[in-house]
């Protein structure tokens, strides 16, 4: 990104002054010069386009891990007021609706697992359907799937997947209100038929990690984390159902925008007023996909527990937290001293409620919401906690991952999957995948420095670092 176009307003926050004739809201980019310099200029173009959408409240923002997406940049955050013409955008959520991370803490130390790591990696790979073309054992007809879309993780729990205690530690307690299965196409439901309990492909993974460093002792204790402890992170979303909803509504919202006279600086920003029939339909379908994602991660957590119990029978896996990073959520936020209902788009950004937020589970309320920054398979991930001032800074949002620094195409030219897997094995990280192409595309070198992203997230006042997790075994989609 050409930094000469930016103006630094705080050590970790930048803006772009609008041109004299330009009519748009302010944009804010969180990060330092090093991170921003690695971003494509398209990130700036895309967030500037978002700042032109109707009903935007405050600024259009990018998180420190932002990269070029479609319509919205990935790492983009924008809130809209339904009572002031605010819009909902399918491009502001993404195809993988409610993609997110379920983090489980194990009652197990690295020293106890180390001799059995290979057996665990093999068992997880055998039990977790991962990668293109892999189906799960649960086959649901469209009518049965409607129950998933209404019930979310609660549906999965009722079917015997997971533990009742899980629900407390899932965003929205595993079931978001306002899901409308009737607004989900039959094709979307058919695409999901064999995909419940599957990991998917691309950047999705199930990773066994060890807590390598604690940054904030008290919060780590509240989160139940200690150095040397094993943690499992599951990164996936609403699978084919969400992909098809994204596909269906991208076109219908683009046509709605044209019909309603909304000028789109980029067609991929396809949107409609929140208070329009098309907007309401998309919200109902998107909420259904959120519940699908909650159920999917609940099933995958159950499968992971099964694999652990086979290899290390005494180990228990408790849900630390489950939070999505491709959503638009109706939330109340203070704006100019007034509490207002806003629709907060977070595309590749994690909700990060600070201490005291009433939506948090009682256990975490004093320290803030666990925020998970998933890194690449060779470097590591972070657990953070929502910062006290993050609501005012970015509508309680934070980074979601390391963020790509290199395109998939470039990564394919630079790395070979088999070679990369062997190199990581040499470093003590076991990768299990059916896709050598996928492994190469997800090479650690294709991502930004996750340490810098986490530091920037903290320095920008979005979330506080609590723990660093080092990868030990990874099932890649």
């Amino acid at each position: 990104m050409d930094l000469s176009r930016l103006r630094q307003i705080e050590p970790w926050c930048w803006t772009v002054p609008p041109a004299a004739e330009e009519r748009r809201a302010e944009v804010r980019l969180f990060g330092n010069a090093e991170l921003l310099a690695t971003m494509d200029d398209k990130v700036l173009e895309q967030i500037t386009n978002v700042a032109r959408l109707p009903g935007l409240v405050g600024c259009a923002m990018t998180m420190p891990d932002a990269h070029w997406g479609y319509g919205f940049p990935i790492g983009g955050v924008a809130a809209f007021d339904p009572d002031r013409g605010g819009i909902i955008s399918a491009g502001g959520v993404g195809f993988d609706i409610s993609c997110g991370i379920r983090c489980l803490r194990a009652s197990l130390e690295w020293a106890d697992l180390a001799p059995r790591l290979k057996a665990l990696a093999d068992t997880l790979f055998e039990r977790i359907p991962a990668g293109v073309g892999e189906e799960g054992s649960i086959k649901l007809a469209p009518a049965e799937l409607d129950e998933v879309l209404r019930g979310g993780a609660r549906w999965a729990l009722a079917r015997g997947y997971g533990a009742a205690e899980d629900l407390e530690f899932i965003e929205e307690r595993g079931c978001v209100a306002g899901a409308a299965p009737e607004d989900v196409s039959l094709l979307a439901k058919k695409r999901q038929r064999g995909e419940m309990g599957t990991l998917g492909s691309g950047n999705h993974y199930l990773e066994v990690q060890v807590v390598d460093r604690i940054y904030e002792e008290r919060t780590a204790r509240v989160f139940g984390l200690r150095e040397g402890q094993i943690v499992v992170s599951i990164h996936c979303g609403s699978r084919g159902l969400g992909h098809q909803i994204g596909t269906d509504y991208l076109v219908s919202l683009a046509k709605a925008a044209a019909r309603l006279g909304i000028v789109l600086p980029d067609r991929e920003l396809a949107c409609a007023p929140i208070n329009s029939p098309e907007g309401r339909q998309y919200i109902g379908a998107m909420n259904a996909a959120m519940n699908c994602a909650f159920a999917n991660r609940q099933i995958l957590a159950h499968l992971a527990r099964g694999a652990f119990s086979e290899v290390v029978p005494h180990a228990a896996l408790e849900t630390l937290f489950d939070v999505s990073h491709n959503t638009c959520k109706a939330e109340h936020h203070a704006v100019d001293g007034e509490r207002r209902l806003l629709y907060v788009h977070r595309k590749g950004a994690t909700r990060a409620f600070g201490p005291g937020h009433p939506a948090l589970p009682a256990r975490y309320r004093e320290v803030g919401q666990p925020v998970i920054i998933g890194g690449s398979m060779g470097t590591g991930s972070y657990i953070l906690a929502g910062a006290a001032g993050s609501e005012n800074r970015a509508f309680a949002s934070a980074s979601h991952g390391a963020g790509r620094a290199m395109s998939r195409h470039q990564a394919l030219k630079q790395w070979h999957g088999r070679q990369l897997i062997d190199e990581l094995a040499g470093k003590g990280i076991l990768i299990r995948t059916r896709s050598m192409r996928g492994a190469a595309e997800e090479a650690p070198g294709a991502y930004k420095d996750v340490n810098l992203v986490a530091e920037a997230t903290e320095q920008a006042g979005l979330a506080r670092r609590v723990a660093f997790l080092r990868p030990k075994a990874c099932v890649k989609g």
Partner: protein, 158 residues
């Protein structure tokens, strides 16, 4: 809207272009998080077919896919760019719905009315596993005539 019917007649395909001269007919372009596909052909329909081949080649080695099951469908779209996205997304919808991968596609156009189809097989362990394509997007979407014929491109979400 579209109509569909399934058939199992591997010799009934209008063309087999997907197995020839792939390097000339399709390619890729850069996008940070996802991937851009480009299809080229003497006609608009050929360019759309080549773009579809590029998309399926992200998922597997299309030359190894047996044309065991075919799907035919129709759709209406007057806008050529939106038609490309619709075409690719219908193919994705059908292949994911059936747990299949397609190795051959065909497309005919009559004004705003498009008749297309694809043939392939359910995933089997011997097929190379690439990366799943979730959807075709409107990003960097373009359909244009060139000195050599037609070119169709867009970013697909992976």
């Amino acid at each position: 809207m579209y109509a569909q019917r399934a058939r199992t007649a591997p010799n009934a395909f209008p063309n087999e272009r997907m197995s020839r001269n792939s390097a000339e007919r399709y390619g890729y372009f850069e996008h940070d998080a996802d991937l851009g596909v480009v299809g080229r052909g003497m006609t608009l329909e050929e360019a759309f077919e080549a773009a579809a081949e590029a998309m399926f080649a992200i998922m597997t080695d299309v030359a190894a896919v047996k044309p065991a099951v075919a799907v035919n469908f129709e759709f209406e779209e007057a806008d050529e760019e939106l038609a490309l996205v619709r075409w690719l997304n219908l193919l994705l919808g059908y292949c994911h719905e059936r747990g299949m991968v397609f190795g051959r596609v065909w497309l005919e156009r009559d004004g705003a009315r498009w008749r297309g189809g694809a043939a392939g097989e359910p995933w089997r362990s011997e097929l190379e596993r690439g990366v799943e394509v979730k959807g075709a997007t409107l990003t960097m979407l373009s359909v244009k005539s060139t000195a050599d014929g037609w070119e169709a491109r867009c970013v697909v979400d992976v």
